[in-house]
Symmetry: C2
Subunit: 332 residues, 2 copies
């Protein structure tokens, strides 16, 4: 059995109250007593039991984080931001991976609550109705992080997808491209995918360019970016492709590589996200840099603020993005 506050009290010949006071610096303790207690603590290597402490103070210093999949580098980046800022305020994170399964999300939300987390962050592509309901049952700060879905009800942290897509399209136009295609997943009406395509269309329309070269993908992965193109690409003479995500852009890049269409010589391809591989692959991908780490950081900061009853700022925070110009795009 580990040493407890009682052992310290006994060995230093004081009450546990006094020991508690010295370890917490909560109330004045005479110097000699303090010294003695500290000495004993050092000697027997006493470490307060945080569980016991939590039980009485109600502060677990735990934040629950439910993610879809750590294998997605952007998720890992968000978690890094969450963790690092959390640590600055002595918070630890309890991690759960749902792999996109809403039952799992539901289960973890309950689990984390039983473990007395003080706040929760959910990173998930879509916000399921039941999950939404379950979250509202609990009365702890919550932030919803998603690259795809929006939520009015819960606080979110993201970038302005519409403007980002708009700006990126303008950039391609400035490079001299006129036949610019859009590649993306367009199933869910309420998703950020629509903000992106609208940004694209707006930029195209402003310049009176044809915004009808839409390549619909069947999903959000590399494979689907690859197969959305097929042979329709070369037929209509598109010279640039705005992809709704880096994965899709990489799929497109691979498609071109395999079909002897050179990037960026024959076609410019740009992505969205700036996930890790974006700058690792060759050619390096031109893309919209979403500040994943910062998104995580801001999310947990928001939670911690709420926890300390500070007036919380706006509910939906938009962070700045950047247009990362690299090698997969060039002047026509």
């Amino acid at each position: 059995m580990a040493v407890t506050i009682k052992d310290v009290a006994k060995l230093s010949g004081v009450s546990i109250s006094t020991v508690s006071r010295v370890i917490n610096d909560s109330k004045p303790v005479s110097p000699e007593v303090k010294r003695k207690v500290l000495e004993v603590i050092e000697e027997i290597g006493y470490k307060p039991n945080e569980i016991a402490r939590t039980l009485v103070t109600k502060k677990s210093y735990l934040i629950g984080v439910i993610v879809t999949d750590l294998a997605d580098s952007y998720v890992a980046d968000m978690v890094r931001g969450i963790e690092e800022i959390g640590k600055m305020y002595n918070y630890d994170i309890l991690l759960c991976s749902s792999y996109g399964d809403k039952e799992a999300e539901l289960k973890y939300i309950q689990l984390l609550n039983r473990k007395q987390v003080e706040g929760m962050i959910l990173i998930s592509s879509t916000l399921d109705d039941e999950v939404d309901k379950k979250v509202s049952e609990y009365d702890i700060p919550f932030v919803y992080l998603s690259r795809y879905s929006k939520s009015e009800k819960y606080p979110t942290v993201s970038i302005d997808y519409h403007f980002a897509a708009y700006e990126m399209t303008k950039y391609l136009i400035s490079l001299g491209h006129e036949k610019i295609g859009y590649v993306g997943y367009l199933e869910d009406e309420n998703s950020t995918q629509y903000e992106k395509i609208n940004g694209y269309k707006r930029a195209m329309n402003e310049m009176e360019l044809d915004s009808s070269h839409i390549f619909k993908t069947k999903g959000l992965n590399i494979r689907e970016g690859y197969s959305a193109l097929n042979n329709s690409l070369t037929e209509n003479g598109v010279t640039a492709l705005l992809c709704s995500s880096d994965k899709i852009a990489i799929g497109a890049l691979n498609y071109c590589y395999d079909n002897n269409i050179k990037t960026p010589e024959d076609i410019s391809i740009v992505g969205f996200g700036d996930i890790q591989i974006a700058s690792l692959i060759r050619p390096k991908l031109t893309t919209v840099k979403e500040p994943f780490y910062d998104i995580g950081a801001v999310a947990i900061r928001k939670i911690i603020k709420e926890l300390s009853k500070e007036p919380s700022e706006e509910k939906h925070i938009k962070l700045p993005y950047q247009i990362q110009k690299r090698d997969s795009s060039r002047k026509l």
Copy 2:
């Protein structure tokens, strides 16, 4: 204030002992009482406080995981394995990132202990002496996971790097290559890097081939793989490169790409690890697949076994690896 076991007891007209029994199914309870209690629990949405429970049972169902950096996909993969298997046994993970800072590791080891984790997994390139010492202070199951360092003292899970390198070299030889270079970081004597280079040398010596084409890197990252090559590569007519890690291999690949040396036409390049990008870049990288997910899974399983007092198997577990033949290598 959330509802407690007392509320349930009061509302169902029984003692808290009885309520405890029904929620834990620990002792027989008459059907009617049970039904009634369950009803009340459902009605007021009672959820046991795990913190209170932990305090008395000493079971926190928490495993502490200290990692270097989640941004490394192999780390994320290990954590996934840890988390997924942990969840099967109701364990949750408390995550800490050290970013390679040993002070941070030290701090987190203590922190996790105060939070009453039942076991700990450390993922770190090197096992610092002080960290080693600190770990031994605590009496909980511990596993050390590293791709670079070895530890006799603590349980580990890895692959047989010597054989893997040996086998990969043999594979390159079987492709007709004779001038095979080795690219790797060779500073730390006690590292797995030496097992790899020895595997390489053994394979080369067995075929009486020259094993002196060693390119020393100054680190383990892409950049260092890139710069280790410089112009020495083409001079000596090496036709294949065995790299000690995928990152280094990618650096090599990039070096070749930038210097107009075609892979695999002019040179075959193979890596070690099979991290995520290995199969995403073009050409897809031939590499030794280290089962990161499984390594994490086996590590936590080992901890859970120890926790349940099962006889633990061997201390240092070696998992099978695979030679992933892809596009960055070909017949000479």
